[in-house]
């Protein structure tokens, strides 16, 4: 790669412009597309993956024993007290998921506003994440305020668009990296468009859709996503999200030469949380769940504490906070660390669903 390819640029811009026009002119169409759970191919892949990771069936029991056990399970499951507690857990989890979606959307809004302003909005498409993140945020706040249990088509649609926009952003950022001299090099990973950033919008979208799916269950059923118990799917999504965020923090802190010892924290604590959460998604046990919960809480705290570190980091730039208009752009990004918080909260919500699922 040596030069920016103008044709490629044109195509990418045209595609984005088309998507934007469609979004404004044909919201119904978009909503209809969005209503199919994600996109068909993604779904097929996800179902296949889910089947792969599902625990193997237990060895067959004598039919009489099996019948009795099944009866006992059903009695337990549908006892009024149990049902009420499940309903509460599910409702709470849905709200928590709404909350983490709102947080992630807010962070994407703040981060892309600052970073794309820094990039002078050189490309019109750079406004897109601001608009979509703002919509996602509004949708999630609405979701939090909405006492009705059902899922909502508009919210669902917004989340789908957010997920897809994040993926498109990923492509844009990748293109931005690859078109520079040196191509896929450390230098370009450090200073071109941050490769991982748009993924946060995708995560917000996925978690938002998760929230919708979770709240939208009959009182007697437990939520599922893509044929899997919702808790486990969402735990998997949060774990992957955490891992990606660790990757991004690792890259940028490496760029900063880990000059402050605290810069190692986000590449040591959240990976443990992500791994435990992943384990809980695959094979939930009481012990993994408890450990995962502890590390997720730590990760959530770290995300908030990170803002403090970044505030200090901004102060260490020339002119400190007196020169805020420059240093907020140059210094460590303030909205970055709480992504960990958002994902950890989602992970915690997923865990409580898992716990409810497993002791059923």
């Amino acid at each position: 790669m040596t030069r920016a390819d103008p044709t490629l640029d044109l195509i990418a811009n045209a595609a984005l412009a088309g998507a934007a026009v469609l979004l404004v002119a044909r919201p119904r169409l978009i909503a209809r597309v969005a209503r199919s759970p994600l996109l068909p191919t993604t779904r097929d892949v996800a179902v296949a993956a889910a089947r792969l990771i599902a625990p193997p069936a237990p060895p067959p029991l004598h039919w009489r024993v099996a019948k009795v056990r099944e009866l006992a399970r059903l009695v337990g499951k549908y006892s009024p007290a149990r049902l009420r507690s499940t309903r509460d857990i599910v409702k709470k989890a849905a709200r928590r998921l709404n909350g983490s979606t709102a947080l992630l959307a807010f962070l994407v809004l703040a981060d892309s506003a600052v970073e794309h302003y820094r990039g002078s909005f050189a490309n019109r498409a750079m406004y897109t994440p601001l608009a979509i993140a703002a919509l996602t945020l509004a949708g999630s706040v609405f979701g939090l305020a909405d006492a009705r249990p059902n899922r909502h088509a508009v919210r669902d649609g917004i989340y789908a668009v957010a997920a897809v926009t994040g993926l498109a952003g990923l492509c844009f950022h990748a293109y931005n990296i690859l078109k520079r001299p040196g191509g896929l090099s450390w230098l370009n990973l450090f200073y071109a468009a941050p490769i991982g950033a748009p993924f946060a919008l995708t995560l917000a979208g996925l978690l938002g859709r998760g929230a919708e799916r979770v709240r939208d269950v009959l009182p007697r059923r437990r939520p599922t996503i893509l044929g899997m118990p919702a808790g486990r799917t969402l735990a998997a999504v949060s774990a992957v999200g955490l891992a990606g965020t660790v990757g991004e923090a690792g890259l940028l802190h490496f760029r900063g030469a880990f000059q402050d010892p605290a810069m190692v924290l986000p590449v040591t604590v959240p990976p443990v949380a992500a791994a435990l959460l992943g384990a809980a998604a695959l094979r939930p046990t009481l012990k993994t769940n408890r450990l995962a919960r502890r590390w997720l809480k730590l990760t959530a705290l770290l995300g908030m504490g990170g803002v403090g570190f970044h505030i200090f980091g901004v102060a260490r730039n020339m002119g400190g906070w007196r020169n805020w208009s420059q240093n907020v752009l140059n210094g460590p990004p303030l909205p970055a660390p709480p992504s960990f918080t958002g994902l950890a909260l989602a992970g915690l919500a997923a865990l409580s669903l898992i716990e409810d699922e497993t002791d059923a």
Binding site: T2, R3, R180, P181, G182, W186, L187, F190, Y191, F254, R255, G256, A257, Q259, D260, G313, R316, N317, M318, G319, Q326, N330
Partner: protein, 548 residues
């Protein structure tokens, strides 16, 4: 003004300026002039400043003297090319030869911290073979140093300066990871990159002595681009803000505005201390050892000016080589215009580099090598180049300056050969201290001219390949000074040994750019500092064996 560091010394009364805080002070140990300190060091630049720090940290008593002022960059540096000329050594000197050198801004500093206060921060290692240029590559002379040993000292210096460099450096043997990551490459650097990729050669972000992330009280570089007129934010890791604060902490004394005029010796021929001018009069500091580190013009000048009946040709000069083999480096450039805006002044001036012709030995009609780098001349310098090199003046110059933001260039740091006829001698004229000034004689040899021609032709291709138009050659520029007191294995053909100890007088040392036997095709300061670190280790070892 009472606090004008150009007129009144600041390092007095038990304190020295805190270079990292506006108006700040740090405590400084002071020595009595009559107490013979272990080391009196003349010059506090890349050689002297580094050595002062290391020796003080090893427990020696050290007084380091510099003719220049003790700046606090945060207080004293203006964003003004003209004003900042105060950093350059502009005392009277005479130049002659076929290619008289332009001395001052581009090769000598006069400040506590030496030329590194306004250097361009490019921090490169020698190609290993250069230490054995004669036996491995067939030109110049061999150094008495082994590259593998130097590799360790390079690492020490890179860490002390927290060099910001690429994760993988494309040339030479493996080196440890640079302590800080490379800076973002500006548009001028990307032009170099595009040209290199088009011609199929490697390029790299340049390893630089300016931090890309916070370090202590140094903020990360803000890319103002005023590096070569003195960094006013302290992102630049000069000797002034790295080694010297450490030196003070370890108990060294630094004397600013202290011009050494003579190194004295006793009847036995051993040196006894330095005679220096400070606060209006001549003084004498006794010392058990004297280190001369005034750079390649002032070092031989001081040694020659210290001539006595016992040493009529000057100190350490039994070989007759003091002042000889002066080497500059070729600094020719090609310039052109890009249609898109470049704003080359943004950021450190040389953010991208290729060392291709340092490490490639085929396709050359000359000995030695060169690196070339992207450029970011400031407006005043640029208008000077336009007027002196292209003869633009009046309206044409104004018109050309309108295109300042579109101009782009590539410039070499090229290896020129050591020649005895290129030398520093004493003139009859005297300077403001009443000391004979130096005459600097310089001429290119044929090999030098071939190297320059090769580089200009190659860089022209690179610039064309990157899409520049209206390309022209700047043929007359040099940078850096080296040689004039070369190190070697033989007292007959060198002035100092590998430890920078003079062959003639065991307690007289020379530790700066003067000791280079050859220059290589990279900027010299990292090597000078590495040599200083090695010298300190050697002195420590010799002292332990009672061999000082």
């Amino acid at each position: 003004m009472s606090d004008n560091p150009e007129h009144t010394p600041r390092a007095l009364d038990g304190r020295a300026p805190d270079v990292l805080r506006p108006g700040g002070w740090v405590p400084m140990r002071q020595y009595d002039e009559d107490d013979a300190v272990d080391f009196a060091i003349v010059g506090t630049g890349a050689g002297g400043g580094t050595l002062a720090c290391k020796l003080a940290e090893y427990g020696f008593s050290v007084v380091a003297l510099d003719a220049g002022p003790y700046w606090r960059p945060l207080d004293d540096f203006a964003s003004d090319e003209h004003h900042q000329a105060k950093l350059y050594w502009t005392d009277e000197r005479i130049v002659d030869g076929d290619n008289p050198l332009q001395l001052g801004a581009n090769n000598s500093g006069k400040s506590v911290g030496g030329s590194t206060v306004h250097f361009a921060m490019v921090s490169l290692r020698f190609r290993p073979e250069w230490f054995k240029a004669r036996s491995k590559l067939g030109y110049g002379v061999d150094w008495p140093l082994d590259w593998r040993e130097m590799w360790r000292y390079y690492a020490e210096v890179e860490n002390a300066l927290k060099i910001s460099g690429p994760v993988n450096y494309p040339w030479g043997p493996k080196r440890p990871r640079y302590p800080y990551r490379a800076h973002e490459v500006n548009a001028a650097g990307l032009v170099l990159a595009e040209g290199a990729e088009a011609l199929g050669i490697a390029w790299s972000p340049t390893p630089l002595a300016t931090v890309s992330a916070p370090r202590g009280r140094s903020p990360p570089c803000v890319y103002r681009g005023m590096c070569v007129i003195g960094c006013s934010t302290n992102a630049k890791q000069s000797v002034l803000i790295t080694w010297l604060p450490r030196a003070l902490k370890a108990g060294a004394e630094i004397r600013d505005l202290a011009m050494v005029g003579r190194v004295e010796h006793d009847k036995s021929g051993r040196v006894t201390g330095v005679r220096y001018h400070r606060r209006g009069r001549w003084r004498f500091q006794r010392a058990k050892n004297v280190v001369v580190a005034g750079y390649s013009i002032e070092t031989p000048r001081l040694l020659l000016n210290s001539a006595s009946s016992r040493y009529p040709d000057g100190l350490a000069n039994s070989s007759g080589l003091v002042g000889k083999n002066l080497m500059v480096q070729a600094n020719q450039a090609v310039w052109g215009i890009m249609e898109r805006e470049i704003r080359a002044y943004k950021g450190p001036p040389s953010l991208a580099i290729t060392e291709h012709w340092n490490y490639t030995d085929t396709g050359k009609d000359f000995f030695g090598g060169y690196a070339y780098m992207s450029q970011g001349p400031l407006p005043l310098v640029w208008s000077g180049v336009e007027s002196s090199e292209r003869g633009l003046w009046g309206q044409p110059l104004i018109d050309e300056m309108e295109r300042y933001n579109h101009q782009v260039g590539l410039k070499i740091v090229g290896e020129l050969m050591p020649q005895e006829r290129n030398r520093v001698t004493l003139a009859d004229e005297r300077d403001q201290y009443g000391l004979p000034i130096s005459r600097v004689t310089y001429s290119y040899c044929d090999n030098d001219k071939r190297l320059i021609a090769h580089s200009l032709a190659f860089m022209r291709q690179a610039l064309e390949a990157a899409g520049a138009t209206e390309i022209w050659d700047e043929t007359d520029d040099t940078c850096h000074l080296n040689g004039t007191a070369r190190m070697g294995d033989d007292p007959k053909t060198s002035v100092v040994n590998a430890d920078c100890r003079s062959w003639d007088i065991p307690n007289l040392w020379i530790c700066d750019g003067s000791v280079f036997p050859t220059v290589g095709g990279v900027n010299p300061s990292l090597t000078i500092q590495a040599i200083a670190c090695r010298t300190a280790d050697r002195i420590k070892a010799l002292a332990a064996r009672n061999e000082l």
